[in-house]
């Protein structure tokens, strides 16, 4: 099984995860920029983080045979802090960088005015930079939040096929399908959505315009949920080809719209003595 995880926060994960993901068939992923688990207090904290996403983390993933891309944005949660909102000014520099395949995660968290302003502004940036957009939907008041999200997307004028609306469930998927946007599903161990419910949704809505991700981060989550979804699809009678569409073809099609995917296979999945800016993932074994 060939897997492209379209949404996973590898900065929060260990090298064991990388090894297991490779063994499971993951060969490419997208790491969206998001918050740190606790609030940032300055723009510098964002830019150091962005530098890591396009630098060290891409190198680290490559050491384990996985192509790493990222999305860049001011996330909805931190859009509410004026100290952080200034990061919008430097976003264009990062959106132009190699391997930055979308603007994201943007959208609503608590549906405030500041969030809406940052959201709309970043949709405009996406249009200017000809990039797709990864839109997060709120954990609380999800249905109303998703409706309002789709209104903002529509008003921005961006083509719906350039937008994925993420963290959907049975109640919100229909709205997004009707809007012509891509449908994103985060498969978690306990909450939100699991692989069996996912299969049921696929049966109802088909495999087109669907992205399945693990959204694994520093919370309880499982970077192999993409694999589990593939297995559940096969168990439910889907073909290998259907699984490949959902777990590889779809993410490639969606993020490929950026023109910046880097999918040529890596030579090795075993870290050697390679370095990034002089630093290696090896410990103790370097000569």
């Amino acid at each position: 099984m060939r897997i492209f995880d379209p949404h996973i926060h590898m900065t929060s994960r260990t090298t064991d995860d990388y090894e297991q993901m490779y063994a499971a068939g993951v060969r490419a992923l997208v790491e969206p920029a998001f918050w740190l688990g606790q609030p940032r207090t300055s723009v510098g904290s964002f830019t150091d983080y962005f530098d890591g996403l396009i630098g060290w983390e891409r190198f680290r993933a490559a050491q384990f045979g996985i192509r790493h891309h990222c999305t860049i944005a001011l996330n909805p949660k931190e859009a509410n802090d004026p100290r952080c909102a200034e990061v919008l000014e430097v976003l264009p520099r990062y959106l132009a960088k190699d391997g930055v395949v979308a603007v994201g995660e943007v959208g609503y968290d608590s549906m405030t005015e500041a969030e809406e302003k940052a959201f709309a502004q970043q949709l405009t940036l996406a249009i200017e930079h000809e990039l797709p957009v990864l839109v997060h939907t709120p954990h609380r008041d999800k249905l109303a939040g998703t409706k309002r999200t789709l209104d903002v997307v529509r008003e921005s004028g961006i083509a719906p096929e350039l937008v994925v609306v993420d963290h959907l469930n049975e109640l919100t998927v229909g709205l997004v399908a009707d809007a012509g946007c891509w449908m994103g599903f985060s498969i978690y161990p306990d909450t939100k959505m699991d692989e069996h419910r996912m299969v049921t949704i696929l049966k109802e809505h088909g495999t087109q315009r669907v992205l399945v991700n693990s959204a694994a981060d520093w919370g309880r989550s499982d970077p192999l949920k993409t694999l589990r979804t593939g297995e559940a699809m096969l168990a439910a009678g889907y073909t290998e080809s259907d699984v490949d569409t959902v777990l590889w073809g779809n993410p490639v099609e969606f993020y490929g719209q950026s023109g910046k995917l880097m999918l040529d296979p890596l030579e090795s999945a075993q870290p050697g003595g390679e370095t990034f800016e002089g630093n290696s993932v090896l410990r103790g074994a370097r000569t």
Binding site: T47, D51, I54, G55, V90, P92, R93, Y94, L95, A96, K97, D98, H129, K260, T275, E277, G278, N279
Partner: protein, 464 residues
């Protein structure tokens, strides 16, 4: 991207059937061809030339290719003598007949012009005679032509400089149908000014452009990057004069590997066109550099110019250095210093290298130099050998204090950066550097480890 239209010369596809050559050229993304009439490519002496021409025209239309007609075939008129007879031969009749046929074919093809050259002056013929033959020959072809004719100065030929071609045109009374073919490689080889300047001098008389690289003084058509042509600068000049015609790659000796050469050429042309466009954008709106700088590797290429790009850098390093130079046209002083510092701050490794390799192109201004020094010092603290190498370029040679500079050189020895990357080594290497390197060598020897060859090179430069 500019509005330039790139084509490829079919004389670089001599081992392909014309139909196949046209398809490959179109598939690679060219939008035109320079069609050299030859014995197996639309032979102008064939009985069914009218019918053949009609078929070729249909094929060009189908593939969406523009066309100019080239007349430089080697043995089309005389199977024994290359290019003979010419317009400066004692009896140029066959040449004039051929050129007239070419103009009729060009008309039937809907070609943009017919390109031709003078030929080599036969031995024993003085300049005055050759000039008169040339003038009469061109006049004779013009007389019957309904399409534009473009005279190409050709190294070694009677008319080999742009100035001669322009003078001939004036003497003929500046006929509207007569213009210039400029081969930009020829400019490198034999013209007194560079190709961009030739383009400006020819201006609206430029009917046809041939693209290739060349070394000064050597008339050998080379692929882009193998000679001294400033391709981006040349394309910028073409865009600047609003050149509307085809600019076609002219590599007649590369037919043996035509598809690969044509593919590499269009890649180089797109990269150079992007760079020319980016420079223009930065000159008029300096803030554009913030998003063009990160995109440079994707658009202009990233190949190293030596084994690992440590000594001479990479393609994108040089492209970024040019963007930095363009930046200093729109900004100066504190504003320029701030923009440069931010490019470095927000840059990834490659962007930082690009800044470092362009510092010497910036004006020598207090704030700009101070900023440059801060960036060089930062780079010399890094473990990234690409940054260390780039930091020790001409800017550091000129401005960095002796202590920091010496430690930079020593760091090269430590981290395996070839000292060839250090600019001004011979001028700046002093007794103190020699002492440091001698101590370093002694320490390596005491530990039973090899002393890098470059250490001895530094000592040699320091006169030790």
């Amino acid at each position: 991207m500019s509005d330039l239209r790139f084509g490829y010369g079919t004389n670089g596809f001599a081992n392909h059937r014309l139909d196949d050559a046209l398809a490959v050229i179109a598939d690679l993304g060219y939008t035109g061809v320079a069609l050299t009439l030859d014995h197996d490519h639309l032979d102008p002496f064939a009985d069914d030339v009218v019918e053949q021409t009609r078929r070729v025209r249909a094929r060009l239309d189908e593939l969406g290719l523009g066309v100019v007609v080239e007349t430089g075939a080697r043995y089309l008129l005389d199977p024994w003598h290359k290019h003979q007879p010419t317009l400066v031969s004692a009896d140029p009749a066959r040449r004039i007949d051929f050129l007239r046929r070419a103009t009729r074919i060009a008309e039937d093809l809907g070609a943009e012009c017919v390109s031709f050259w003078s030929g080599v002056t036969p031995s024993g013929v003085d300049d005055e005679t050759a000039w008169a033959r040339m003038r009469d020959g061109v006049a004779a072809v013009l007389e019957t032509s309904r399409v534009r004719l473009a005279l190409e100065p050709e190294p070694g030929h009677f008319v080999q400089h742009l100035e001669q071609a322009l003078r001939l045109r004036t003497e003929l009374g500046s006929p509207e149908l007569l213009g210039i073919t400029l081969d930009v490689g020829h400019c490198v080889a034999v013209e007194p000014v560079d190709a961009a300047e030739c383009v400006r001098r020819a201006g609206e008389l430029l009917f046809n452009v041939q693209l290739d690289d060349m070394l000064p003084g050597v008339h050998e058509h080379l692929e882009f990057g193998e000679g001294r042509l400033d391709l981006a600068g040349t394309l910028a000049a073409l865009a600047e004069v609003g050149y509307p015609g085809l600019a076609a790659v002219e590599l007649p000796r590369h037919s043996h590997a035509a598809p690969d050469v044509a593919r590499r050429s269009i890649t180089a042309l797109r990269a150079a066109d992007w760079l020319a466009d980016a420079e223009r954008a930065v000159r008029t709106d300096p803030a554009r550099i913030r998003t063009l700088f990160p995109a440079t590797g994707r658009k202009a290429g990233r190949s190293p110019l030596d084994a690992d790009g440590l000594v001479h850098g990479t393609t994108d390093d040089h492209a970024r250095a040019r963007l930095l130079a363009a930046l200093s046209i729109g900004l100066s002083g504190g504003e320029l210093a701030k923009e440069v510092a931010e490019l470095y701050r927000y840059g990834d490794g490659a962007e930082r290298r690009g800044v470092l390799r362009g510092l010497h192109l910036l004006p020598v201004d207090g704030e700009v130099v101070d900023t440059g020094l801060r960036l060089v010092e930062d780079a010399l603290r890094a473990n990234d050998t690409g940054l260390v190498a780039a930091a020790l370029g001409p800017f550091a040679a000129r401005h960095l204090d002796a202590h920091t500079w010496r430690h930079g050189v020593l760091k090269c020895l430590f981290t395996g950066v070839p000292v060839g990357a250090v600019s001004g080594l011979a001028e700046r290497a002093d007794a103190e550097l020699a002492r440091m390197v001698t101590d370093y060598a002694a320490e390596r020897e005491a530990a039973g480890r090899d002393v890098p060859q470059d250490a001895y090179l530094v000592l040699q430069e320091a006169g030790q």
